[in-house]
């Protein structure tokens, strides 16, 4: 009988095989493509819609309060808040302005990736594949690393897709590509890179919650979105449009600390829990 060649179980080989499994799955997962497509299309749709609705008034019947919808002027508003250049140009905020772009900009990707990570991990347990997976690997480290890496890649791709979508949406809507208030292209690049590294923080949190919940996808999604919302507020602060190398360094350090720290805890949880 021809002997099947299997590589000896060193850490790097184990990690390599786990990554191959997860990549294979991710590239065959409809969810992955849907999420990236949403990340591309949502900014286009939002930008076009809000540009069309710019300046529209709506009146609250009960209080009489007038709300003016303020659409974007600059394409960069999908990425973050501009410096106070708008006020400098004399555009006084009317009472009750609604800056929708501040609410649903590129940072939505941090929430969107939660859905991917939670379902990607819970599927291992719900399908029962965890039996085949963990019977042949008693060490759990590579599982945590691989899942974190998949989530990170998905999150990074979402951020990039959103960026592309925002540029396309801005071009279609005729928004200005001007960099105001002392912003440079390097700031934008640093901002995106910082957000990508910050993604590692969020993904690590989603991974540990998903591993805790295992097959209960609803529990991990609710927990992840709830937990993510708490940090969500900080994203704009930590990665503003005017980001510099300092922001990048901070996000990278934070990402690595969270990935290693929470990853170690995830590993312990996996070792003690039932895989079936």
């Amino acid at each position: 009988m021809e002997k099947v060649e299997k590589n000896k179980k060193s850490f790097s080989n184990r990690l390599k095989s786990m990554l191959r499994v997860d990549f294979y799955r991710m590239l065959r997962s409809r969810l992955f493509y849907i999420i990236i497509a949403c990340a591309l299309l949502v900014p286009i749709i939002m930008t076009v819609m809000l540009t069309m609705m710019d300046g529209q008034e709506s009146v609250n019947q009960q209080t009489g309060e007038i709300t003016i919808l303020e659409g974007p002027d600059y394409v960069w508003e999908s990425i973050g808040s501009l410096p106070s250049d708008k006020q400098a140009d004399g555009e006084e905020a009317a009472m009750g302005n609604m800056d929708v772009m501040a609410l649903c900009n590129i940072n939505m990707a941090f929430m969107g990736v939660a859905v991917f990570v939670c379902l990607f991990i819970s599927d291992d347990f719900r399908s029962g594949y965890s039996k085949n997976l963990f019977t042949v690997r008693s060490k759990r480290t590579e599982y945590v690393i691989s899942k974190t890496l998949m989530g990170f890649i998905c999150g990074a791709l979402m951020l990039l897709a959103y960026f592309v979508g925002a540029m396309l949406g801005g071009a279609i809507s005729g928004l200005s590509f001007e960099l105001t208030g002392g912003l440079t292209l390097m700031n934008i690049v640093m901002c995106i890179i910082a957000k990508i590294f910050l993604m590692l923080v969020f993904v690590s949190i989603f991974v540990i919650i998903s591993i805790g919940a295992r097959s209960k996808a609803w529990l991990s999604i609710c927990g992840s979105l709830g937990g993510g919302m708490l940090l969500f507020m900080m994203v704009s602060m930590i990665t503003p449009l005017g980001s510099t190398i300092a922001n990048v360094g901070l996000c990278l350090a934070g990402g690595l600390i969270f990935a290693v720290g929470l990853g170690a805890i995830s590993r312990v949880v996996l070792r003690k829990a039932n895989m079936i």
Binding site: V4, K16, S138
Partner: protein, 299 residues
């Protein structure tokens, strides 16, 4: 060295003791039939061997190494409860996943080989969720066979298979252990089927191993009997009870006289009482009846 050596294994789920002080020995090259009622601790034991649930105490050694050793675990295959496959992936994709999981050099070649072994080549393109129960079961076994594992742990692998499927699996099992090193732990409620292939047995009850034996030891322990039919079965039973201690009627409608000497003596005795024997044969009880008797003893 044994394929599996378990000493004093225990597992608690809260207050409930699913396994308590279990000892088990599976020699190399064995097909070990693991038998027990539902809730006896059989599946729990298998899950612990595979490292899928933590133990509460005791030791498990696989091929002389601790069961947590990475180099031992990479050579295992498992099918516990339902097959572990992604429903929306095809049979081919599910098997390729497992081949990659095992870091096999030429995964496509290995998957094709295993699909041929379980006669599933034609179904490779089907999504797993669209397969029938029998096909799903074959896929589950195929997943366990990838990478030529040294130790297979199979829980009810024959469920859902038709007669042809069961025959194929018997051939697969026998082929696997033919090298004298690879071993299979298989649990099944189909004791008749198990008896056709098993070389060793372990009977578990209430979380403890109550008997372990080889197939030849079982054969010796199984009681012999003479099975006969006469034209007046009721009277024959009455007459035979007067002389022999254990008389029963079996499910095929024969009267069984256990632990007796020669059939001719029974025929003569019945003839003396005016009864003619229309059919007579000597046989042994099978695994199923041995097991039922053992469970009754335990009560």
């Amino acid at each position: 060295m044994n394929a599996v050596e378990i000493r004093n294994l225990s597992k608690n789920f809260g207050a409930k003791q699913a396994v308590c002080g279990l000892d088990m020995t599976v020699p190399m090259g064995a097909i070990y039939g693991f038998i027990g009622e539902n809730g006896s601790g059989k599946s729990t034991t298998e899950k612990m061997i595979c490292g899928l649930i933590p133990t509460s105490g005791g030791s498990i050694a696989l091929y002389g190494k601790d069961y947590r050793d990475e180099n031992v675990r990479k050579d295992m295959g498992v099918l516990i409860e339902a097959p572990g496959c992604f429903p929306n992936l095809t049979v081919w994709d599910n098997m390729m996943l497992q081949a990659r999981n095992l870091n096999i050099e030429e995964p496509e070649k290995e998957v094709i080989k295993i699909l041929k072994k379980v006669r599933m080549e034609g179904a490779a393109g089907n999504k797993y969720k669209n397969c029938s129960l029998g096909m799903k079961q074959r896929v589950g076994i195929a997943m366990a066979l990838i990478g030529e594992p040294t130790l297979l742990v199979l829980d009810e692998p024959l469920n859902g298979l038709d007669a042809d499927g069961m025959r194929i699996m018997r051939e697969v099992f026998t082929d696997i252990v033919s090298d004298g090193r690879r071993s299979i732990v298989v649990s099944s409620h189909l004791l008749g089927e198990l008896q056709k292939v098993a070389t060793h047995y372990g009977i578990i009850r209430h979380g403890k191993m109550i008997r372990e034996m080889t197939a030849s030891e079982l054969d010796q322990s199984c009681r012999t009997f003479v099975a006969l039919q006469t034209e007046d079965m009721d009277r024959a039973k009455y007459v035979l009870k007067g002389r022999y201690s254990r008389i029963e009627e079996d499910e095929a409608g024969y009267i069984r006289v256990y632990d007796t000497e020669l059939p001719e003596n029974i025929v003569e005795y019945l003839y003396e009482n005016g009864l003619y024997v229309t059919e007579i044969k000597t046989d042994k009880i099978g695994l199923e009846e041995y097991y039922i008797d053992l469970m009754k003893e335990g009560k």
